[in-house]
Amino acid sequence: MSSVLELRGVGKTFGGVPALKDIHLAVGASELVALIGPSGSGKSTLLRCCNRLAEPDAGDVVFEGNPVPAGGAELASVRRRMGMVFQAFNLYPHLNALENAALAPRRAAGLSQSEAETAAREALERVGLGDRTTAMPDELSGGQQQRVAIARALALRPRILLLDEPTSALDPELVGSVLRVIRSLKEDGVAMLIATHEIAFAREAADRIAFLADGEILESGPPAEVLDRPKSERLQSFLSRL
């Protein structure tokens, strides 16, 4: 199977401290890969290196067969096709749900206003918020805000979604609504790379799990293998503390 996204030996240091070391990871079409690991293990940095919000110092990030360009319009075009969802949602607080989702289709992808709004409306319907298009972010619950953020990424019809702990900032009772949306996207065949602390969700929804510790992938494989037969001591102790 050809990969949508592939990391080949990606490394990153912050002020001399290594944050990622020689990361090899591939996400195939319609595959869901979960990144698990303790806080500070480099999950966010790994995701941010994919669309170059963080600049990798070593290795290659390959998207649909081509290296992710360093900048300019080419990078912007890759970023549109690589949706990103942030832990803290990062919605535009001055725009309503529809405007949040329609901004990039209009201003980055160059669709007409009505095409952009159609794409945005479809994306909001897909996350179950077709009836809240005119709501401002501060009128929505955390779970709804995160679903708007997912819709904002989906409105660009991306080939892959990068999700950075999408449920970590949510009240427990709101986590389910967001995970349901992610599961339905998986059923629709959207490729996803997701950093998460929801191990139960990863076990049931992920095709593969990669365990990250101190910036290294220590183990990866199918959920049953990684979660039920951990080989490394780090993973064993990580799982035992959950």
Binding site: A76, R80, Y92, H94, L103, A104, D138, R152
Partner: protein, 223 residues
Amino acid sequence: MSEFFQTFLNPGVMAESSGLLLRGLWVTIQACLIVVPGGLLSGAGLALAQTLAPAWGARSLSWGVDVVRAFPPLVLLVLIVHGLPFLGIEPPPLLGVGIALTINTSTYYGEILRAGILSIEPTQWEAARSTGLGTAATLRHVILPQGVRNVLPDLAGNTLEAVKLTSLASVVALPDLLRMARVAQGVHFNPSPLILAALLYLALLWPLVRLIRRLGGRAVLPA
């Protein structure tokens, strides 16, 4: 007490000088129509340039801004209005005053707008960039609408100062409101026209002052 009224609130003098003062008021309004939009636009240019320029460029710009801000506006005014003719440029007095005061006030508008831009979390830039939005579109649709809203009371406050700043023009013989009041004062040997001028400034600025009060009372930062 009646002597006080005769001196400062003399109705006869006020009535006689009102025509002169209204002409001065019109000149003041014209000066404001140059200085306020000019200052806002050049201030926006300064703020954007400092936001987008590489570090050394932003640093030299901020030095320039600091120099202008520390420079007495009166001296700047005299230099430009009386100095430009030596370079063979002789702008009409209103325009000369407009240029000098625009230079001065644009640095204040610029710093306020820069603060507005900086008040927006970097995560907003990241969210926009992650969807492929470029710098210009991000500024226009994401950063500035929020940032400007955050500093609206300060922008309005600086506008108030800019309007009052135009009264400096009286020293370079621009027949503005204050200048005309001084002329009338000389003619009548009575300072009542100055009080009338103050009342006209108050009428001009009152809506703005109230607007600032309203803006200040409202929480404009997003939760």
